[in-house]
Point group: C2
Chain length 239, copies 2
DNA sequence: ATGGGATATATCCTATAGGATATTGTCGAC
DNA sequence: GTCGACAATATCCTATAGGATATATCCCAT
């Protein structure tokens, strides 16, 4: 009864549009650099223009789409190499600290659920087949694990900062090699174990190592993809 | 000539609404917790509802306003003591690093302009009178200085993170004591000097010290204001 | 063949109207 | 005097139409 104060929190159309668009961008159903037509999206999603516009504004503030005043929206292009390095520099700054704090948090927060959640999220989903779907599941699971560690840090601002960084990495996740999934799971489990056993320094080091490995795993695929798309140039010329 | 490719970048109504609303929130013309009526704002600002809605969505993503699905927007309430400490913890993590990196950046970026800008921004504006306006100018100058140091770090993501944090601090800036303005200027100048003279460690330490002092300056005013408003309670009852 | 200019199209931006919902105030009963 | 329910109001949410602008196509001149 007293819970009714928070309201039903019924998701409105703008939230639906936001979730749908974000999901499509994260799974690269909307390619980087692709132009986004407002009423085109409105007709495709069968939603009016105003909610679409609202969702787009939110996504722009998050950095997932860019806007040019009288020209329209487009999906944020792929990160340059400098931006890529910058991103991982920030992760190295934030995430080991989050892991460290998560490890020496008050024990009242360390009930059984936390350990279970951590172990569950550290595992990558079963991937008998290397289909595109399972690879998508993997990227989702990876994101959730890192976000959960952020939440466990006890610092809401730190958690939100980590979440934002993860959102910027979405495009490059799809280039992950299938074999690296197992490596990722091992590293995640090492981090989880250190947190559960409350060893702050070990947790921080495990996270730092994981990030370094993740960086090099992405970097190879990153350079490869850059060779395909072309080195940071728009392709609008017709020969 | 070739610059015409970037477009005129003419600000549209949504940008105007965004800037105006953000400005009013930052100067507390819109009080924390105050309810924001969409068409009320539309009539006040003489702008249609759609741009207002768009600006509000962007501000929500930035954390300056909160939204409840079928209930409307309201200005983000004052930070609790925990959130306040969390905020300064993040600043201590990010800003000294930014100062350090700014100090040992490539010298091609260290032309005369940077030194001049730094010295200019470090200074607080002349405040012969302690009027509300000059106090507002001070908060703006302080924000600009910290943001500029963030930009000088050479890491766009670090700069943006610092900018976001500053936006969250807006509400408490208005409680600054007039006498602390001079102290702030001295500390800013020390940071600027260390960066100009390219002494990374000194710059980082100066920034860290400045943040610690700033934290205690805010904290005293923070607790005082909390005593006035009441300890974290809405005041909607009529006796 | 290439460059410049004008027209045509598509898209965005803005404004207004109607339907649905939460909130507020009032009334009555216990 | 307090609690609960009901009705009226205000507000938000959604949809559609018209005006303004950038982009693309086509044509002509050089």
């Amino acid at each position: 009864m007293g819970e009714a104060l928070v309201g039903p929190e019924r998701p409105i159309l703008a939230d639906k549009a936001y979730t749908e668009l974000k999901s499509r961008i994260l799974r690269s159903a909307l390619a980087p650099g692709e132009k986004l037509s407002i009423d085109g999206l409105a007709k495709r999603l069968e939603i009016s223009q105003t909610p679409i516009r609202e969702a787009l504004a939110r996504l722009e503030a998050e950095g997932l789409v860019r806007r040019r005043p009288l020209s329209g929206y487009k999906v944020t292009p792929l990160l340059t190499e400098d931006e890529f390095e910058d991103l991982f520099g920030m992760r190295q700054l934030l995430e080991p600290l989050a892991a460290k704090r998560a490890a020496d948090l008050d024990e009242n927060l360390h009930d059984g659920n936390v350990a279970n959640n951590l172990r569950m999220l550290a595992r990558t989903p079963d991937f008998d087949s290397d289909a595109a779907l399972s690879r998508l599941d993997f990227t989702e699971a990876d994101k959730r694990f890192h976000n959960y560690v952020g939440q466990l840090s006890g610092s809401p601002m730190l958690a939100k900062a980590i979440d934002r960084l993860d959102a910027h990495l979405h495009l490059h996740r799809s280039y992950i090699e299938p074999k690296s999934i197992a490596e990722t799971e091992r590293e995640h489990l090492a981090i989880a174990a250190a947190i559960i056993e409350r060893q702050p320094l070990t947790a921080a080091e495990a996270m730092s190592l994981h990030l370094e490995n993740s960086r090099s795993r992405h970097a190879t695929a990153f350079l490869r993809s850059e060779a395909v798309v072309g080195p940071r140039k728009e392709v609008n010329r017709t020969p």
